[in-house]
Each structure stands twice: as structure tokens, then as C-alpha cells.
Symmetry: C2
Subunit: 257 residues, 2 copies
């Protein structure tokens, strides 16, 4: 009589040992069987990178009823590809990335390994969601986030998502959150992106850092505004990145060689 338990594929970009991944596992075990294929170390900022120059290694590190965890030498996207090709017993009902230590809102979506996981799941036509907490610390407190992670996962399991659309969920810090807002990606830019550091072997080198400049801090429909006002920001995200609105104009340009 009972419906088969859902199967969810998890990965992340903070690596198989990250607290955010294990908080995600703890939250989802009551509602689904889980297969985890995660990088063997941190891959923050891996975006949608894939590894084609050399082969990957991958092995199970924990196996219990309803849960199996693999660690893998590749990128977050490699993990999803390899899981779907080699390790899943059947097509998963969802792909979830996270819970990331640090936000992936606004332009950061383009650099995000968490969203690399999610976009890969979506490319494979599986409903896919990324969760990120606005705290980079290794021992971040996920407790207020977890009820939202559970609710959003259950809602997507029930309703599915349209082909080509995935969800980017960012969760603010705070003991008491104000609920969910459906948002658009904030426009902004990173500035002052490098610190110059002395190379002990001579010369200088450059370490990525930066200051994020929000171009529209007052826009109440953006993910940044939601996060700054204590809301969970759900930004629906497309995998078709075509700019349809400019096609007519471009057809009028002179392309003759």
C-alpha cells in the first residue's frame, strides 16, 4: 500500500566532512533514502567545473540502511555526474546541494559549487535545490535553517519543478526567521578583489578577497533584501541562459564579412 520512499542524491562543495552536509543528511533521513557523493575536500567556488584531463577516484565511506556516502576526488559537478552514472540504484527523485557554509545569492550564483550541483541535477531533468546558509564558519549554527530545508524539500518532492528550473535557497542567520520570500537575483558586483601578498620565494602574489557592492539595496524583490530582512530567499533559477529579449535587436546588426 505504501508509496516507495523517495531517493535523494546529495552533494556539496565544502567537502564530505562539512557540517552543513551532515546537518542536511540529518534533516532529510526521516523523509527519504539518501545517496551522498561529495568531494573529498573543500571545492568552494568550483562553479560548474568538470574534470576531463584525468580520471576520478570515488569510494564509499559510510553505509547504513537508507544512507550511503561516497567521497570523490572530483568537483561538485563531477560528483553528481558520477553518482548518476555509476552509483544510484535508480533515478533520484531530487538532487540537493548543500547546506553550503556561506551565501550563494546575487552574482555569487555564478561561482557557486553548490549551484554547480543543482544546475547539473536540473540539466539531468531531476528536480534540484541548493541550500546555503549566510555563515562561512565551519561550526555554523544551522538550527533555524533546518525546518525550512525540510519543508522546501517536501514541497518540491510533492510538486516537482518545471523542466529547466531549479531553486537556489539562501538562509539568513538568526534564531527566528521571518518565513520565505520568492526572489530574483540581486544585481551587484565584487570590488577590491585581491590582496597582494609577498611570495616567500620572491615577488608578489594575489589572494582572492573582495567587497560586495549591492547595486540595488532597496529592491524588495531581491534575494539580498530578503536575507538582510531575516527571510529565507528562494530564487528560481533557469538553465537556459539565452537572452531572448535582445534577439530581434541583434538580428538588425551588420554581421556581413
Amino acid at each position: 500500500m505504501g508509496k516507495e520512499r523517495p531517493l535523494i542524491l546529495l552533494s556539496n562543495d565544502d567537502g564530505v566532512e562539512a557540517k552543513g552536509l551532515h546537518e542536511l543528511i540529518k534533516t532529510l533521513r526521516p523523509i527519504a533514502d539518501l545517496i551522498v557523493v561529495a568531494p573529498d575536500g573543500p571545492r568552494s567556488g568550483a562553479s560548474g567545473a568538470i574534470t576531463s584531463e584525468y580520471p576520478l577516484r570515488c569510494r564509499p565511506v559510510r553505509q547504513e540502511p537508507g544512507l550511503i556516502i561516497y567521497k570523490c576526488t572530483g568537483t561538485p559537478v563531477d560528483c553528481v555526474k558520477l553518482a548518476l552514472h555509476n552509483f544510484v540504484p535508480r533515478r533520484p527523485d531530487m538532487v540537493i546541494g548543500g547546506i553550503n557554509h556561506g551565501d550563494n545569492s546575487s552574482v555569487n550564483v555564478h561561482y557557486s559549487g553548490t549551484m554547480g550541483v543543482v544546475i547539473e541535477g536540473c540539466l539531468k531533468q531531476i528536480p534540484s535545490v541548493g541550500f546555503s546558509l549566510c555563515d562561512h564558519s565551519a561550526d555554523a549554527d544551522f538550527s533555524a535553517a533546518l525546518p525550512y530545508v525540510g519543508r522546501i524539500t517536501e514541497e518540491v518532492l510533492q510538486n516537482g519543478l518545471p523542466a529547466g528550473t531549479c531553486l537556489n535557497v539562501n538562509i539568513p542567520l538568526g534564531k527566528q526567521l521571518n518565513g520565505v520570500r520568492i526572489c530574483r537575483q540581486t544585481a551587484g558586483v565584487w570590488t577590491n578583489e585581491f590582496a597582494t601578498v609577498a611570495n616567500p620565494r620572491g615577488g608578489e602574489c594575489y589572494w582572492l578577497t573582495g567587497v560586495y557592492q549591492n547595486h540595488e539595496p532597496e529592491a524588495e524583490d531581491t534575494d539580498h533584501w530578503a536575507l538582510e530582512h531575516g527571510y529565507v530567499a528562494i530564487t528560481p533559477t533557469r538553465i537556459d541562459v539565452t537572452d531572448y529579449g535582445i534577439m530581434d535587436k541583434l538580428n538588425g546588426w551588420n554581421w556581413e564579412v
Copy 2:
């Protein structure tokens, strides 16, 4: 009386020695001053990846009037960020990625280091274009592509591009091309993505490969169709990946915790 010569920032994901980069340099030198900051080796499939865990090294390898070339230990996006932060004498008039050895059409845009370059330029609000040739070989023949590379660059220098929009240009093989088509991103999926290879130290490992399956081979408005019919495919690409069309629907879901 004369207008200042344009300044164009170039990078790629095949590395500073790749033929495609040097064909691009050769084509653009008559029309612009060039600053090149490229990875010190291949970074295919780097997508929008950035390096935050360790510092980058970067040094000039060639300097002539109107041309300076740096090589850098980072990803394609690192190269663009570092160039704009440390090495450009003024804000460039364009950012160009390529010419890539291999196509970046359809879903491959998400994995593309070439488009990582272009999206980064666009995030920095500079008109940005990526060029890719449908030939992975190191000694690919770019001769039919170059007139289009020049024409498209000149057209973008003259007209600019709207904020948040960049161009993904894919060029088919062939001595005689049929002109330009403004396209949308083809829907499709990679299948059979891994070859299992023996690890000489024991066990198995997994090497990325795959077969691309086009979900809409007859759709004449797609980039794949254009390439298969001998046209240069220009796919306008957005950096705002929000799926606006689904927001109303998502607002009706149950997000209460």
C-alpha cells in the same frame, strides 16, 4: 582628431600557449590594443570557478607596442578578475574569451571556462564575447572563423551590449561558412559520461567522456542547428539567471514551517 584605440582584455581556458588565443590576438591587433591574461596551462571545463584557498601568481611573458601577455596560475575567471584589478591601464572596452578549441553551445555553456571569462566580463559591466570553434584539436584550422571574429568584435565595439547580456559565439568547421544566425541555447543532455579505467595502484577509476543527446535536433532557432548547417551561432546570454516565469506559481506553494 583620432579616437583612442580600443582596449580589449583577452583570456581563455585552453591556456596561454593555445593556438586559438594566438589566432584571436592576430585577428584583433589591427583594431585594438590588447591585454592578455591567460592561464598557464589548460583549464577546459573550468566554468566560472574561482580560486580562494591559495594565492595566485601572474607574470608578463611578452610585451610589444599594443600587446602585453601575462600568464597566471589561476582559473579563467581568476585571470579576468586579476587583470581588471591589477593589470589593465584603464577600463577595457571589451572582454573576449577564446578562441576555444571545441564548441560551447547548448548545455556546454555551463561547463565552459571560455564563457566563465565572458560572464565575468559581463558581471563587471564590460561588453563581453566568447568565441569557440567546433574542433578540439590543438592545431585546428581557424581561417574561416577569423573574419567573423573580427566582424563581431567590431560590431560590439561600435554598438556595445546591454548591461547583463553577453554573447556566446560558436563557429562551425568548414572552408565556407553560411553567415551568422542569432540563436537560443539548444536543450540536450550528456549521456554515458564515464569510462571506467583500471587504476594501476588497484581498483577502478572513472574518466569523463560522454555522448551528447540533442533533445530538439529539428529546431531551427537553436545554436546546434545553426552549427550543423554551417552558420556561425551567436547566442545572447544573460547573467541574471532568475526564472521570472515561475515566481507567481511558487508564491502559491506552502512554505510554512
